[in-house]
Symmetry: C2
Subunit: 341 residues, 2 copies
C-alpha cells in the first residue's frame, strides 16, 4: 500500500478546468498516488478585489503541500491586477523555470524535426522584480535587477540538470555587450560555475543572434540558461516551433516548493467546448510526478501520451490532414491516453 503525496491543485480559468480534469484523470488512471487539496485562483478571486488573484488561505495549502499543479488563469485587464504567476514564483521562491521543448515530428508536423531543447529560465529577478516608477508624466522606468545569488542558483541548477539528465551542452544567452554589469554578472557566474562541470560543453551567445539561431536551427542547442525575460520570450519561441506552444509543460522549482503548469495561456475563446489540448499541463504533471518521486508512474504516463500522439489521435490545435488520424476533443484525448497506459 503506497502513501499518497498531498498536492495543491487549481483549475484556473478559460480552458483550465477542462485540461486539469483531463490531466488528473490520466494521472489517477496511471496509478499516481496523490491527495488533492483544491484552491481557487484567477479571475473570480481577482474580481473579489484580491490583487494577486489568490486568497491568503491558499498560501497555507501551498506551504503545506509544497507542490502545486496549476492550470492557466485569466488576469482581468487593468493596472490594479498583479500577475499571479509572478507573485507565486516570488512568494514561494521558485527560482528555476524549466521548459523542455521537443519536436514530435513526424507525428506533429514541425519545420524543426529534431529539436530537443530545455530552456532553464531564471524566474525571480530581471525586469520581473516588479520595480516600476513614474518619474514624470512623460518618463517611466522599470528596474532590471540581477544579483549574484540569483545567478548562482539558476546557473547551478542548469548545470545540475544537464548532468543528471545526460545532457551534453549548456548554453548561456545574455546581452552583456550592452548590459555589462547585470548581464555581465550572469555571464561571469556562468563561466565560474561552468568550470566545475568539465564533462559538459559550454558556450555563450549574445541573445539577439542566439535567439536567431534558436529559431532557425534549434537542433544545435541542448540546455540553455538565461535571465528571466529572455527566457519568457525564447521559451515561447522554442515551444511554438516544435509544432505548437500547446505541447510544452513547465516546472517552476524552488528550494522548498515547486509549481507545475502548461506554458500556454487560458485561451478563453476555446473554453467550455471540449476542444483544448491537455498535453501542456499533462507534461507539467509528468514533471511533477518525477519531482515527488513517482517516476515510474511518470514514465508510464509519458509513454502512453507519446503513443497517443504517434497514433495520430490529435486535438484540433495540432490536427493536420494527412499526418493525424483522428480529431478528438479534450475528454476523448484523455481517454485515448488512458487506453494506452
Amino acid at each position: 500500500m503506497s502513501i499518497k503525496t498531498p498536492i495543491t491543485v487549481a483549475y484556473g480559468d478559460g480552458i483550465g478546468p477542462e485540461i486539469m480534469r483531463a490531466t488528473l484523470d490520466i494521472l489517477f488512471a496511471a496509478g499516481a498516488q496523490l491527495e488533492l487539496e483544491e484552491i481557487e485562483i484567477g479571475e473570480k478571486v481577482y474580481l473579489r478585489g484580491i490583487s494577486a488573484g489568490i486568497e491568503d488561505s491558499s498560501w497555507e495549502s501551498l506551504r503545506r503541500t509544497k507542490v502545486f499543479l496549476k492550470a492557466p488563469i485569466t488576469t482581468p485587464q487593468g493596472s490594479g491586477y498583479k500577475s499571479l504567476n509572478v507573485t507565486t514564483r516570488k512568494t514561494l521562491g521558485l527560482y528555476a523555470n524549466v521548459r523542455p521543448c521537443v519536436s514530435y515530428h513526424p507525428f506533429v508536423q514541425s519545420k524543426h524535426p529534431v529539436m530537443d531543447v530545455v530552456i532553464v529560465r531564471e524566474n525571480e529577478e530581471d525586469l520581473y522584480a516588479g520595480i516600476e516608477h513614474r518619474q514624470t508624466s512623460e518618463v517611466y522606468q522599470c528596474l532590471k535587477l540581477i544579483t549574484r545569488p540569483g545567478c548562482e542558483k539558476i546557473v547551478r541548477y542548469a548545470f545540475e540538470y544537464a548532468r543528471n539528465n545526460n545532457r551534453k551542452k549548456v548554453t548561456c544567452f545574455t546581452k552583456d555587450n550592452i548590459m555589462k554589469m547585470t548581464d555581465g554578472l550572469f555571464h561571469q557566474v556562468f563561466d565560474e560555475i561552468g568550470a566545475e562541470y568539465p564533462e559538459l560543453e559550454k558556450e555563450h551567445w549574445i541573445v539577439d543572434i542566439g535567439a536567431a539561431k534558436l529559431a532557425d536551427t534549434p537542433e544545435v542547442f541542448d540546455v540553455i540558461v538565461m535571465p528571466n525575460l529572455y527566457g519568457d520570450i525564447l521559451s515561447d519561441v522554442a515551444a511554438q516551433i516544435t509544432g505548437s506552444v500547446g505541447l510544452a509543460g513547465s516546472a517552476n522549482i524552488g528550494d522548498h516548493c515547486a509549481m507545475f503548469e502548461a506554458i500556454h495561456g487560458s485561451a478563453p475563446r476555446r473554453a467550455g467546448q471540449n476542444l483544448a489540448n491537455p498535453s501542456g499541463l499533462l507534461l507539467g504533471g509528468i514533471m511533477m510526478l518525477n519531482h515527488i518521486g513517482q517516476g515510474h508512474i511518470a514514465s508510464k504516463v509519458h509513454n502512453a501520451w507519446l503513443k497517443t500522439m504517434e497514433d495520430g489521435i490529435h486535438t484540433y490545435d495540432i490536427f493536420k490532414e494527412g499526418t493525424s488520424k483522428e480529431k478528438v476533443g479534450t475528454k476523448e484525448f484523455a481517454q485515448a491516453v488512458i487506453a494506452r497506459l
Copy 2:
C-alpha cells in the same frame, strides 16, 4: 549634370572593408551620385584608448553630411569599451531602426517562403539608455527607460512608414502584462496614434507569444513596432529565418541624420578571404539612396541584386547545392550585380 550628395562612410572591421568596397562599387556602377567622406571607426580607434570607438573629428563629418553608410565593427572585449552603434544612435538622435526581413525563396531556401516583415525598432531608450549601477557587490541594476516623446516618435514613424509603403497592418509587441507602466505607455501611445490611421489594421501582441508567432508563421505580420531590446532580438530572429541574417539591411533614422548598415556583425573569422556576402550592407545602401532622393538608382540596384540572387549566384553563406548555381566570392558577387544593372 547631377549634384553629388556628400555621405560619410566607414569601412569598419573584420569583413567590413570587403563588403563596403563591394557595395560602393555597385552603387557607383549604377550611377549613384555620392561624394564620400571617409572616417575611421572601430577596433583601431578603441585600441587608441577612445572609449566609443570614434574620433571627435568624425562627428563633424557626420553632422555635416548627415548620412552615414557604416560597415560592421569589432568591439574589443572588456568593460571599458562603449558600443559605437549605441553611441552613434544616441548622439545623432537616430530614434527609428527600420529592418525589412524578406524571404527570397526559392532562390534562397527558407522555411518561411512568403515572409515580408518590417521591424520598426525604437532605437534610443529602453535598457539601452546605458544606466547601470552596482548597488552592492552582489546586486546590479539596469534602468529600462520609456518616455512618452520616445514612444510617440517611433510609433508615429511606424504608422507613416506603413502608410507610405502601402503596408496593410501595424502590429505592436510589448510585455505590458508585466511592465504596466513602461511597456504600458508604449502600448497606450500605439493605440492613441493608431487611431489616426483608420486605413491600417492594428493589433497588439504580448511579446512572448508574438515572438513565437513571428518565428513560426511570419507571413501573418506586416510592419511590427516595438521597444528597443525586443526589436534587437526579434529583428535578428526575423532576418535569420528568411534564410540568412546576411540578407538584411537596416536604416537608423533621426530628424536630422541617418545611418545605414547591415544587421549582421563583423565576422572576424571570415575576414580578408573574399568570402563575405555584401548583401546586407548593399540593402542598407539601397535604403540610403531612397533616403537621399536617388530612388531611381536604388530601384536599379535592387533589381540587379534580385536578378543576381534569382540567377543563383550566391556567396558561401547562402549557397546550397541544387538551389544555387554558382558559388562566388565577395568581389565576383559584386561584379555579377554590376553586370545586371
